[in-house]
């Protein structure tokens, strides 16, 4: 009621003011009468009455505060005043807003990436209940790959913990519809897929629960909403029509809801097909629905309400033991660990490399944010001292101290909100840059760093943090001053304490910048190292492209023939030195591995069974990539499906499994392909297929013509005489003349192909991001230091003038200013060194050099020293050239 009345009074405040004026004037008039009656002169009486009454203005203000709801009125007033003050000082306002934006923008952008990678739930019903089971056999690495029979057992036996368990398999298909087939990413799914996820079709229907159980029985598909829009223009009549998937007719029965992209955030699924249809894409054998040995599907379960991940995992433990017992041939020594879905998105859910990387870069961007806070803090403190006399004057005229503080706070809030908005805009821009990042693959990978509410919340929290850190010190500074001294000294008073606070902030700034620059330098140096690492092959003059004739309906042996002819034709092209195929080019996203039993090698007790990555290659592969064969022979055209199974192993393979023995003539068995035990005919030098640093894992090769499985996916590699990129048009022309209907993708040089997440891209990203954050930090430090030093020297104009008048030489003045900067620099470098030591353990695992690399440390401290000197030399020079006469005459320099 009372509050309401005061609020109401706000609207008649002009009246209120006049009323209070009248009331107080009446009081004074009565008092004057009293004194006159007592015998004083009217003038004397009036003076005495006013003196006794005290500050008329202050009393009036005070009374007004009682009458009006001052908090609102004052706030509106302060807001108007703040905007007016800032508009009068656009340079200052712009500097603060820009500085804040530079801090808030990058961290928000980085958070948007982290949000996408680790946090944002799948666009399905109750995503927090989704869990992913893994397979771990013989203590080997975790694989999210199950066989269909194992999946069926799991689904049957665990309905008490899972309300639903679905399986899916990602495959690249060719989708033909009136014309050339287009490469699409399809998800082959169990019939319960959409119902477990709780989705409703945008159009048509989804699968029945029985669809997908039998091989090749259900030629139907559901299109993703986005693909339906882009390929078919959103034509509703497509439902019921047939399209060609890898050359077979399949009927479109429905459209998935808008915004649904599948069950892993990075894969943009374009079509959904019943699991039983997977053999049409050629990747899976026809019996894969019954073959317990063939592990190709990944699972996603929905926990029943009230069931924890631990409880579900305990149930799976029981299941794993039963499977190991009942199916010892395939499932011996099985474990089935279970993880919440977000942990399984990008790498091994146990080590959380991505979490570490995310934390690292969020941490580094937080340093930039902190630096920008310090900078704005300094800017505000400088401004507060400039405004000291204004504030003192207003306090003397009756402004309450709390009111002044509130006003500074409102002004600061306007600035920080401006900074927050500008920062969010900058963040949006930066994250759109990141989203446009080239991953060196034509596979539809989703990089959706859009700003959802979490990112916006992060931006708001960053802004609030920046507001609190940047605003506290100067706000206190501005209001808690002795009015008298401020007025008397013409706003020149600067206590040692404020200078100390400023110096400490500068030191922290130099330290933070050093930490960031060291990280950036280490990443950059790592990238240089990585680019010059001996990869075991020669990436120069090599052109790659990928084809899969199965996409247009070829079978396995037709696929083999297709590539044989293709390679022959390519070799006839001028400029082509040699041409070959491989399943997996080095550093590509394609990878295949198997668990092995190796004759002559006993797995030590408690150790995992041998497991190795392998490649299926054509005979010329080693010649094309310049991979050295150290023993035995390479593959020949005679090593085909009629010949004996053969293999070439890497040196690391021979070293690990047949140490000190001749590997030639020895055999091993691939778990997924028993009965075709290849015999080793040669040893090849180690090649880095995945990762630039660390020991090279064992690897082996089998001939393309003897490849296990039915698939014909291959990357063609061509060694060219001229530079590889100059050959692109000729190769395109040649391919068009050989078979214009075959989709070709990832046509690019081997050098470009190295910049993948497994290869150099991670180093380039780290170096780029590090350099960006480092440059921000350097700029903020330069600006901050320059600002504070020039402010400081201008405050000391009188003192410097006196020094010069008393005979100080310019060099001494310069030295005085530089000395201050050097102290800041020295302490800052020490802080930065400590900071770098603290982060080195974190950063070390992403480097291919020591995190204490002396070259980086020397370069960074030298460049920081230069920057600091640069920042203080200009103001120092100005101070040294000071004319003592005018310096002493100026009372106030504003």
């Amino acid at each position: 009621m009372r509050w309401f009345r005061r609020l109401f009074n706000v609207f008649r405040r002009e009246n209120v003011s006049a009323e209070i004026d009248r009331e107080l004037s009446f009081h004074i008039a009565e008092r004057v009468d009293e004194y006159v009656a007592a015998g004083m002169t009217p003038d004397g009486a009036r003076r005495r009455a006013l003196l006794e009454f005290g500050g008329f203005g202050a009393h009036k203000e005070h009374t007004r505060e009682m009458v009006l709801n001052v908090s609102i009125e004052a706030f509106l007033q302060d807001l108007r005043f703040a905007v007016r003050m800032l508009l009068k000082n656009p340079g200052f306002a712009a500097a603060v807003v820009a500085t804040l934006a530079l801090g808030i923008g990058p961290s928000t952008a980085i958070f948007s990436v982290v949000d996408f990678l680790l946090v944002r739930p799948l666009p399905v019903q109750a995503p927090s209940k989704l869990v992913v089971p893994y397979v771990q056999q013989h203590g080997n690495s975790l694989q999210p790959a199950f066989s269909v029979p194992d999946y069926r057992d799991l689904q049957r036996d665990n309905s008490d913990v899972f309300s639903g368990l679905l399986a899916s398999r990602e495959l690249i298909d060719g989708l033909g519809f009136s014309g050339k087939a287009e490469k699409v990413m399809d998800l082959y799914v169990t019939g319960n897929f959409f119902s477990v996820l709780g989705l409703k079709p945008a159009l048509g229907r989804f699968f029945a629960s029985t669809e997908g159980e039998r091989a090749l029985a259900d030629p139907v598909m559901v299109l993703s909403y986005a693909y339906w829009k882009s390929r078919f223009g959103g034509d509703p009549n497509i439902v019921g029509k047939a399209v060609a998937i890898d050359g077979r007719a399949i009927t479109v029965i429905g459209i998935a809801p808008e915004g649904f992209y599948g069950v892993s955030p990075w894969a943009n699924i374009q079509g959904y097909i019943p699991l039983g249809m997977a053999p049409i894409s050629g990747a899976d054998p026809d019996d894969f629905l019954e073959n317990r040995r063939y592990r190709a599907i990944s699972l996603l379960g929905r926990l029943r309400p009230g069931v924890s991940v631990q409880q579900a995992e305990a149930a799976l433990d029981v299941e794993a033991k039963r499977l190991s017992r009942d199916h010892a041939a395939e499932d011996a020594d099985l474990r089935l660990p279970l993880f919440p879905e977000p942990a399984t998105r990008f790498d091994d859910p146990r080590n959380g490399t991505l979490t570490v990387v995310s934390t690292l870069f969020l941490g580094l961007s937080a340093v930039v944010l902190l630096l920008s806070c310090f900078n704005t803090g300094n800017l505000l403190a400088v401004r507060a001292t400039f405004r000291q006399s204004e504030l003192a004057l207003r306090a003397a005229l009756g402004a309450a101290r709390g009111r002044l503080r509130q006003q500074l706070l409102v002004e600061w809030s306007v600035l920080s909100i401006g900074g927050g908005i500008a920062g969010t805009a900058l963040g949006l821009f930066l994250s759109s840059l990141a989203g446009a990042m080239k991953l060196e693959t034509d596979v539809p990978i989703r990089l959706d760093f859009h700003f959802d509410w979490r990112v916006l919340l992060f931006a708001v929290i960053s802004t609030l943090t920046a507001g609190v850190i940047g605003g506290i010190a100067p706000a206190l500074h501005g209001s808690r001053r002795n009015l008298n001294s401020s007025l008397n000294e013409g706003g020149r008073a600067t206590t040692a304490k404020h200078r100390r606070v400023r110096s400490a902030m500068l030191m922290a700034q130099v330290g933070g910048a050093m930490t960031l620059l060291i990280a950036a330098g280490l990443f950059a140096h790592s990238l240089r190292r990585a680019e010059h690492t001996d990869l075991g092959f020669d990436p120069d003059h090599v052109l790659n492209f990928t084809m899969d004739p199965l996409l247009t309906g070829y079978n396995r042996s037709q696929g083999t023939e297709f590539f044989k002819t293709l390679l022959e034709r390519l070799r006839e092209e001028p400029g082509v030195i040699s041409a070959s195929t491989a399943y997996a080019a080095p550093m590509s996203y394609v990878v295949v591995g198997d668990t092995l039993s190796i004759k002559g090698f006993e797995t030590p007790k408690g150790q995992p069974r041998p497991r190795a990555m392998y490649n299926t290659v054509s005979p010329d592969y080693f010649a094309t990539l310049h991979i050295r064969l150290t023993h035995g022979r390479g593959f020949t055209e005679a090593d085909d499906d009629r010949g004996d199974p053969v293999a070439i192993v890497s040196e690391a393979f021979a070293e690990r499994y047949w140490p000190k023995l001749d590997p030639i003539g020895r055999t091993f068995t691939m778990l997924s392909n028993p009965g075709h035990d290849p015999r080793v005919v040669g040893v090849a030098a180690d090649v880095r297929y995945r990762g630039i640093a660390g020991p090279i894992a064992p690897y082996f090769y089998v001939p393309f013509a003897q490849r296990p499985g039915t698939d014909s996916w291959a990357t063609v590699q061509i060694r060219t005489a001229p530079s590889a990129d100059s050959m692109v048009p000729e190769i395109e022309r040649a391919l068009a003349s050989i078979d214009p209907d075959q989709p070709v993708w990832d046509l690019k040089t081997m050098h470009q192909g190295l910049y993948t997440m497994w290869g150099l891209l991670i180093f380039r990203l780290a170096a780029g991001l590090g350099a960006f954050l480092g440059a921000m930090a350097l700029m903020l430090t330069l600006v901050g230091l320059y600002g504070v030093v020039s402010y400081d020297t201008s405050r000391r104009t009188r003192e410097i003038g006196i020094r010069i008048a008393l005979g100080a030489r310019p060099s001494e003045i310069v030295r005085m200013v530089v000395r201050y900067a050097l102290v800041i620099l020295a302490v800052g470098l020490a802080v930065g060194f400590a900071g770098s030591l603290a982060t080195s353990r974190f950063i070390g695992q992403f480097l291919i050099l020591s995190p204490l690399d002396p070259l980086v440390y020397v370069l960074v401290s030298t460049s920081l020293t230069l920057v600091v000197l640069l920042a203080c030399l200009v103001p120092a020079g100005k101070a040294a050239r000071l004319d003592p006469i005018s310096a002493l005459r100026i009372r106030r320099e504003r």
Binding site: E30, G54, H59
Partner: protein, 111 residues
Amino acid sequence: MPKNKNDILQGTLVLLVLKTLSSQKRMHGYAMTNHIQRVSSELLRVEEGSLYPALHRLENEGLVRAEWATTENGREARFYSITSKGRSEFAREEENWERLTEGVRRVLRYA
């Protein structure tokens, strides 16, 4: 700011104002200061700087009512009078005061 001995203790001003108004029909601020000074035999002096904010607060709280009227010597003044809500508040305040002074007296006698 040095405290004057006969400055009114914070919080007792409201009590004094309510007491003054409950014994008089209506009164303006100036008369109140004089009244309190006189009745207390010059022991208490009301600070104008505290009186007017206090009066306006009491008005907002509905404990007093204010109206403009003309004084005997023809000036416009703001006259205050107590409301029934003000009377019950005064009773409560007075009781509080009694208790406080009684307590203080006991402590002083004891220690």
